[in-house]
C-alpha cells in the first residue's frame, strides 16, 4: 500500500498541492484526472521522487519514506512510465530496459549480452511483447515502445521487496484503438504484480480501466469515486467546477457549407510512395474530417496539400487552379494554412513573441521593401488577442512560455489573420484541457462561418463526428467510406470504426 498524507507543495510561491491525501492499495488501478494546471503532474512527480514535497508524509506499507530522486523511488518499487517516452532510440530494447542497472550482467567488466537478452525476454513476456530484445528501439512502433517502457518499470519487481506502484502518464495519447485495448489488457493482467496510477485526458478510458478515480482541481482532491458506474459528465463537472456545455462541439452552430464554392480539389492523387488514389473536394465553410487509425495515411494527405510532399500522380487544384510547384511557400501564398500536430516543432517559434509568430507567414503584408511595420504587427496581435481571448501579459510575451491552449490560439490566429481560406488542422486539441478545447471548437465554427474550408484530423472520433460536415474514413491510405455529418443525423462511433479496422 502506498499513501500520501496531507502533502503540500509550493513552486515559486504558487501553492500547487494543498493538503493532498492519496492512497493506493495493492493491485489497485487508480485513475487521476484534472484539468491542465490542477496539479496532476506535480503530484505524480512527488510520488516518483522527481520533486520533493514541502510538508506531509509518504508512506509505503505504513512506513514513512522520503524520495530524494526517482532512483530512490525506484528502490522502493515506485516507477514511472513517461508520457514523453524516456527510451533512448538508438539503443537496443534490452539496453533500455536495464539502463543504469546493468550490474547483474557484468562479469569482469564486460556485459554478458546473452544473459541480458534472456532477462529482457522475461520482462517483455510480462507485457506480452514478442520482439527480439536486441532490436534497436527506434524501429519499434509507439505502442511497442510504450510496452517496453512498461516492461522496463516492471523489471523493478526483481530488485525490490513488496509490490510495485507504476505511474502511467497519458499512455494512450499516441496509440490507436487496438493498441489501447492491448495496453489495457496488459495492465489488467499485471494487477497481481503491481498497482497502477493512471493519468489521462480521456475520461472514458479512465472509467473503463480504473477501480477508483481521484479528481484533482486547483491542487485539492475534490472527489474520490468508485469507477464502476461513474458518470463522465459528472466527473467533468467536478474537474471544471461548472457544467460542461451539453453542446460540447457546438453542433448548434454548425451551418451548411456552400456547395458551389470549391476551394480545394484532389483529383485521383497518388500520395508519394503510397500507391493510392485519393479524390476529395473541400467547399467553403466545410469541415472535412479524415478519420482512421494511427498510420492509416491521414497525415501524408495533409502534408501533400500543404506542399511538403509532391504527389506521384494526379492533380491538386486550389480554387480551380492546378498546382505545379509543391512547396509550403507556394501553398501559403495561395491561402493554405497548416496547424501541425507537433505544436512545439512546427507550430510555435518559442523565443519569438506573439506578434512575431502571428505575422511569420504574412510578413509581406507588414513590411515595405523589407522593412517591418512593427506598429501594424502589434495592432494585429492585440486585435487577435482580444478576439480569441488569448491569455498573455502583452503581445511581447514569449510564445514558448504560453500554455498549450494559448499557443494553439496563436497558431490559429496566425493563419486566420493571414487570410488563409483552407486550413489544415492536425490534432488541434491534442494535450489541451477542456476549457481550451472548447475555445478551439468555437474557433473552428467561427472560421467555418467565415467561409473557410477546414480539413481536420481529430484527436478523438467523437471530436471528428461532432465538428465535421463530412467524414472520410481512411484505411491503408485509401478513402474507404464517406459519411455526411449533418447535425442531429451524425453517424455513430460504431459506424466509423467498422470501416477503420
Amino acid at each position: 500500500m502506498f499513501e500520501l498524507v496531507n502533502v503540500e507543495k509550493r513552486y515559486m510561491g504558487v501553492h500547487v498541492l494543498k493538503g493532498v491525501d492519496f492512497r493506493i492499495d495493492d493491485g489497485e488501478i487508480v485513475g487521476l484526472v484534472g484539468e491542465n494546471g490542477a496539479g496532476k503532474s506535480t503530484l505524480m512527480k512527488v510520488i516518483y521522487g522527481a520533486v520533493q514535497h514541502d510538508a506531509g508524509t509518504l508512506l509505503v506499507d505504513g512506513a514513512p519514506v522520503s524520495f530524494r530522486s526517482p532512483r530512490d523511488a525506484m528502490k522502493r518499487g515506485v516507477g514511472m512510465v513517461y508520457q514523453e517516452q524516456s527510451l533512448i532510440p538508438n539503443l537496443t530494447v534490452m539496453e533500455n530496459i536495464f539502463l543504469g542497472f546493468e550490474k547483474p550482467f557484468v562479469r569482469f567488466g564486460a556485459i554478458n549480452w546473452k544473459k541480458m537478452a534472456e532477462a529482457a525476454r522475461r520482462q517483455l513476456a510480462k507485457v506480452r511483447l514478442d520482439i527480439d530484445p536486441g532490436t534497436i528501439t527506434a524501429r519499434l512502433t509507439f505502442a511497442q515502445r510504450q510496452l517496453v517502457e512498461l516492461a522496463k518499470v516492471l523489471a523493478l519487481e526483481e530488485r525490490v521487496e513488496g509490490k510495485l506502484v507504476i505511474l502511467l502518464d497519458e499512455p494512450t495519447s499516441v496509440l490507436s484503438r487496438d493498441e489501447i485495448e492491448l495496453l489495457f489488457s496488459v495492465v489488467r493482467a499485471l494487477r497481481h504484480r503491481a498497482s497502477f496510477i493512471f493519468v489521462s485526458h480521456r475520461l472514458d478510458e479512465i472509467v473503463a480501466l480504473s477501480d477508483r478515480i481521484y479528481v484533482l482541481k486547483d491542487g485539492v482532491v475534490v472527489d474520490v469515486m468508485e469507477a464502476k458506474g461513474a458518470d463522465i459528465s459528472a466527473i467533468q463537472k467536478k474537474m471544471v467546477g461548472r457544467d460542461i456545455n451539453g453542446e460540447y462541439y457546438r453542433e448548434d452552430r454548425q451551418a451548411p457549407y456552400d456547395p458551389d464554392r470549391v476551394l480545394l480539389e484532389l483529383d485521383h492523387v497518388e500520395i508519394a510512395g503510397q500507391g493510392n488514389d485519393i479524390s476529395l473536394t473541400l467547399h467553403a465553410g466545410e469541415v472535412l474530417a479524415l478519420v482512421g487509425v494511427e498510420g492509416s495515411g491521414r497525415e501524408p494527405i495533409l502534408r501533400t496539400i500543404f506542399g511538403m510532399l509532391r504527389p506521384d500522380r494526379g492533380t491538386l487544384r486550389i480554387r480551380g487552379e492546378p498546382v505545379h510547384a509543391f512547396s509550403p511557400a507556394h501553398s501559403v501564398a495561395h491561402g493554405v494554412g497548416y496547424v501541425p500536430r507537433e505544436r512545439k516543432v512546427e507550430g510555435i517559434a518559442s523565443g519569438m513573441n506573439v506578434f512575431e509568430n502571428m505575422t511569420l507567414p504574412q510578413m509581406r503584408n507588414y513590411s515595405h521593401a523589407g522593412v517591418l511595420d512593427i506598429r501594424a504587427e502589434r495592432d494585429l496581435a492585440r486585435e487577435w488577442i482580444g478576439k480569441l481571448s488569448i491569455k498573455v501579459p502583452s503581445e511581447y510575451a514569449d510564445c514558448g512560455n504560453l500554455s498549450g491552449g494559448n499557443q494553439q490560439k496563436v497558431v490559429l490566429a496566425k493563419w486566420r489573420s493571414s487570410g488563409s481560406e483552407i486550413i489544415l488542422l492536425d490534432h488541434p486539441t491534442r494535450g489541451l484541457d477542456i476549457g481550451a478545447k472548447e475555445d478551439v471548437y468555437a474557433m473552428i465554427r467561427d472560421m467555418s462561418a467565415h467561409g473557410v474550408g477546414i480539413i481536420l484530423v481529430a484527436d478523438t472520433l467523437e471530436e471528428a463526428i461532432g465538428l465535421s460536415h463530412t467524414i472520410a474514413v481512411i484505411k491503408d491510405g485509401e478513402i474507404k467510406k464517406w459519411f455526411s455529418c449533418q447535425p442531429k443525423a451524425k453517424p455513430s462511433l460504431y459506424d466509423l470504426i467498422q470501416y477503420m479496422v
Binding site: M12, A329, H330, A333, A349, G351, M352, M363, G370, K414
Partner: protein, 321 residues
C-alpha cells in the same frame, strides 16, 4: 512562477553585469583602467572584432555556424588594399572604389559559403571551415605572402582623428552596429533569421524559403566580415593574410559570451556588442594590471568559461553537446 520570470529577466542582463564587474575589477587593481584614453584603446581593438562578430551573429541566430571569417577577412583586406593602391592610393580620390569593392568581395564569398552549405547540403560547420581555408589560400596567392601597406591619411583618419576622445573608427563601428540592429529588428530578413533559428520546421511550415534565407544570412555575414577587414586595415595600416588571424576565436567567443545561443533563435547584435567588449576588456585589462604573460591565455579561457556559465540559460538544456 514569479521568481522564474525574475531570474529570466535578470539573466538577460548578466553579460552586461559581467562587463561592468570586469571593469570594476580591473579598475580596483589599476585605476588607470578607468580612463577615457583607455576606453578609446579598447574601442580601437574592439571595432574590427565587433564587425566580424556581428556578421557571425546573424548566422548563429539561424542556428548555423560560420567559421570562414579568417579567410574572408584576409581576402577582403588584401583586395581592398590592392584596389586602393592601384587607384591612386587614397580614398579621397578614385581609391574610394576599394570600399564597395571589398564589401562586394565579402558578399560574394558569403554567397559561395551559403550556396555550398545549402545547395550541396554540407553542414555549415564543414562548409565554412573549408571555405575559410580556401580564403586564406586565396589571399596568400594574391599577396605571395607579402604585406601591403596602406598609408593614406584620409583613410587612416579612422584611427588618427578623434572626436570626444574616441577615434572615428569607433563611431563608424557604432553606425554599422545600428544598421545591423535595424536589419535584425526591423526587416523581414532579420525576423526570419530568428524564425529559422527558433525552429526550422516551423519556418518551413510557415511558408518561408529557408534555403534562400540561409544564403542571405551568409551573404550578410560576408559583408560584415568585409567591414571588419576594412577596420582592421585602418587600425594597423597593413593588409596581409595574417590580418584575418584570431578572428574566429575572438568572434565566436564574443557571440557566446554575449548570451546569443549557439542553437539559434536567441540573442542578437546588442548581446554581441557586450560580448566583444567583455573579450577586449579582458585582453586589455590583463596587460593593464600586469598579469604575467604566460597566465594570460589561460586566464582568458577561464574567464570566457565563467562568462558563458553565467550568461547562458542551461536550465533548458538537458544535454550539452
Amino acid at each position: 512562477m514569479n521568481r522564474f520570470l525574475a531570474t529570466d529577466a535578470l539573466r538577460k542582463w548578466v553579460p552586461l553585469l559581467v562587463l561592468v564587474g570586469l571593469c570594476l575589477f580591473f579598475t580596483a587593481l589599476n585605476p588607470n583602467f578607468l580612463s577615457l584614453r583607455n576606453f578609446a584603446r579598447i574601442a580601437i581593438s574592439s571595432s574590427p572584432a565587433l564587425m566580424v562578430a556581428i556578421g557571425v551573429t546573424f548566422v548563429i541566430l539561424m542556428g548555423s555556424i560560420d567559421l570562414s571569417m579568417e579567410g574572408t577577412v584576409a581576402v577582403c583586406a588584401v583586395v581592398f588594399a590592392l584596389i586602393l593602391n592601384a587607384l591612386g592610393g587614397t580614398i579621397a580620390g578614385r581609391g574610394w572604389v576599394a570600399l564597395p569593392a571589398a564589401l562586394l568581395v565579402g558578399a560574394a564569398l558569403g554567397a559561395i559559403n551559403g550556396i555550398v552549405h545549402v545547395k550541396l547540403r554540407i553542414p555549415s560547420f564543414m562548409a565554412s571551415l573549408s571555405l575559410g581555408f580556401v580564403g586564406i589560400g586565396l589571399s596568400l596567392l594574391i599577396t605571395g605572402g607579402d604585406r601591403i601597406l596602406i598609408d593614406d591619411p584620409p583613410f587612416r583618419s579612422l584611427l588618427t582623428v578623434r572626436v570626444e576622445g574616441f577615434p572615428l573608427m569607433a563611431y563608424a563601428a557604432l553606425a554599422c552596429l545600428l544598421v545591423a540592429w535595424f536589419i535584425q529588428d526591423h526587416t523581414t530578413v532579420g525576423r526570419n533569421f530568428y524564425a529559422v533559428g527558433g525552429g526550422e520546421d516551423l519556418a518551413r511550415a510557415s511558408g518561408l524559403n529557408v534555403g534562400r534565407l540561409r544564403i542571405i544570412g551568409f551573404v550578410l555575414a560576408g559583408v560584415f566580415y568585409a567591414l571588419g577587414a576594412i577596420f582592421a586595415v585602418a587600425r594597423l595600416g597593413i593588409a596581409e593574410t595574417e590580418t584575418g588571424r584570431n578572428f574566429m576565436f575572438m568572434s565566436i567567443t564574443s557571440v557566446v559570451v554575449g548570451g546569443t545561443a549557439l542553437r539559434g533563435g536567441e540573442g542578437g547584435v546588442w548581446n554581441t556588442l557586450v560580448g566583444v567588449l567583455i573579450v577586449n576588456v579582458i585582453g586589455n585589462g590583463m596587460v593593464v594590471i600586469g598579469l604575467a604573460d604566460y597566465f594570460q591565455d589561460g586566464v582568458l579561457g577561464l574567464l570566457v568559461i565563467a562568462a558563458v556559465y553565467l550568461s547562458t540559460d542551461r536550465r533548458s538544456l538537458s544535454f550539452v553537446k
